[in-house]
């Protein structure tokens, strides 16, 4: 700003060339940013005064609840003591008609459910597995998955990163997988980054 005084001839005549150039340089140094500040409110994308349109953020999937939550108050045996049911079929006729068995090569109900005691599951040689330990049943066929699950490499991470922390837990198999149709359905992907079109088209790198 002081260098503007250079425009007055009386002062200009008294300065040397070097001083003139230095003054003009400093003059530009201040005025150029000053001019750009005046245009700031136009340059800033989505500036402070713009009306905002918030991108809707969707919720995320939670694991399926325990199958047991959907049963009535009475245990399985109370019906199955009275009603005879041939578990050697894949589909039911009167009850449990909502159960559609799509579990790989499993063809019959009795592969997992005990023949006479319907409150428990069954091992490959007919032993009973209590109903709160479904992993003992699943591990008979899915041994490698069971091994991974025990260590923490299969399944959702829960709560704490330190397995020795009080309150750390592992979700049991059927808390995520529906045992009758264990494969997860495909999900709809949530929104990704905004494609402004400024970047090169994919495949042309």
């Amino acid at each position: 700003m002081v260098s503007i005084t250079l425009l007055i001839p009386e002062i200009y005549r008294k300065t040397t060339l070097k001083v003139n150039i230095l003054c003009i340089f400093f003059c530009l140094f201040c005025t150029c940013p000053a001019i750009s500040f005046a245009f700031d409110h136009i340059k800033t994308p989505g500036g402070e005064n713009n009306v905002v349109d918030y991108t809707p953020v969707q919720g995320y999937l939670r694991p399926l609840k325990l199958r047991r939550d959907t049963l009535f108050e009475y245990t399985c045996n109370e019906c199955h003591r009275v009603f005879d049911s041939d578990g050697n079929k894949k589909h039911t006729i009167f009850e449990h008609t909502d159960v559609k068995l799509h579990h790989g090569k499993t063809t019959i109900c009795l592969s997992c459910h005990h023949k006479t005691n319907r409150n428990v599951y069954v091992t490959n040689d007919g032993q009973e597995i209590p109903s709160d330990k479904p992993e003992e049943l699943c591990s008979q066929c899915h041994g490698t998955t069971y091994r991974d699950w025990k260590v923490g490499t299969h399944g959702r991470a829960n709560g704490y990163w330190n397995s020795k922390e009080k309150g750390w837990y592992l979700l049991t198999c059927i808390e995520c997988h529906n045992p009758h149709n264990p494969a997860f359905p495909k999900l709809v992907p949530m929104s990704g980054p905004v494609n402004t079109g400024r970047h090169v088209k994919k495949g042309t790198h």
């Binding site: 201040c30 800033t44 995320y60 490499t153 905004v194 494609n195």
Partner: protein, 329 residues
């Protein structure tokens, strides 16, 4: 030529020094009206120019306070000063956003080096992790910032140049693709830390690379230095709907930032330094993410490094990332 000079009444040559009388007359000539008007106009221009240059200072009160302006670097703050700063931040957030925040400063846990493992056989590209992170870390919604970028790769190659991150199919996973989410790798030898000219970012004791948002000058050198594009810049003042603000904040982590600072994934240090999991690991519906302590030989991370097929991105850059990709099927 000297004879025709207008201001020189005595008609002498080019060297006024040789004639003292005329020099004195020149220098001490009374101020003419013309010179006065010139000076006045130029003076006005001068003042106008300075005023325009100082225009941004109008927003000083809104953007920051004097206390914030003179705030010291995080590593030089005493605990008492930190207390005052946290209270001030809570007050500012209440004023600006109307939310009762709880801003803390959790310190690193001893004997812990955090590491992340991601199973690319399980990732389905649903982006639930991306949005859980956005909600947890109070990232700007408009313009949208997402720390995690999920790359859709064609099966059979590791070449990231063939990836697509703008995918939006009806359902995922798409046929013949696999998915690789990329976020800050919290490198052992971070390039961003080396690039920062003001040391606003550094590798903390538990391995997390942190940023002091108040010290950052917003030059974006770190963004240029990072081989994984992990760092995001706030080009505008962050816009977060009030009901989506996460009130549990950490000074070095997920507190609401200002325009002109860098931010990035911090492995949710406000959660992980208290024993919890990062939000992305909790949100993944496919169970693809594992998090733990590298120094604990019984942790899931160590198990993965021992037993599984593990790789890291851009190994040749020498950054030694602590984000391990693995696969089993």
């Amino acid at each position: 030529m000297s004879d025709k000079t207008t201001g020189n009444t005595t008609g002498t040559d080019n060297f006024p020094q040789e004639n003292n009388e005329s020099v004195k007359r020149e220098m001490f000539k009374p101020l003419s009206r013309r010179s006065f008007m010139k000076a006045g106009a130029l003076g006005a221009l001068m003042i106008g120019g300075t005023a325009t240059a100082l225009l941004p200072l109008r927003n000083f009160k809104n953007d920051t306070s004097l206390e914030n302006f003179f705030q010291q670097h995080y590593e030089r703050l005493t605990p008492e000063r930190m207390e005052r700063i946290l209270k001030r931040i809570e007050r500012e957030i209440k004023e600006r956003h109307g939310v009762d925040a709880n801003v803390q400063d959790p310190k690193p846990i001893a004997d812990v080096q955090f590491a992340y493992a991601l199973n690319i056989s399980r990732c389905i590209g649903c982006r639930r992790c991306v949005h859980a992170c956005v909600e947890e870390n109070n990232q700007s919604r408009n313009p949208e910032i997402q720390y995690i970028r999920v790359l859709e790769m064609p099966a059979g190659t590791f070449d990231v140049e063939k990836s697509d991150h703008y995918y939006s199919h009806e359902t995922v996973p798409a046929e013949g693709k696999y998915y690789m989410p990329v976020q800050c790798q919290q490198c052992e030898n971070p390039s961003c830390v080396k690039a920062c000219p003001v040391s606003a970012t550094w590798k903390d004791k538990d391995g997390i690379v942190v940023i002091d948002y108040d010290w950052c000058i917003g030059c974006r050198y770190c963004e240029a230095a990072c081989p994984y594009w992990a760092r995001r810049f706030n080009f505008a003042e962050p816009n977060i709907p009030k009901e989506q603000i996460n009130p549990d904040m950490a000074y070095l982590g997920n507190r609401i930032r200002k325009k002109g600072t860098m931010e990035k994934c911090t492995f949710c240090l406000g959660r992980t330094r208290k024993g919890l999991l990062p939000k992305c690991a909790e949100a993944c519906p496919a169970g693809a993410r594992q998090f733990g302590n590298l120094l604990d030989p019984e942790s899931v991370i160590r198990h993965i490094l021992r037993e599984k097929r593990v790789y890291v991105l851009k190994e040749e850059m020498g950054t030694r990332p602590k984000f391990y990709y693995w696969f089993d099927t």
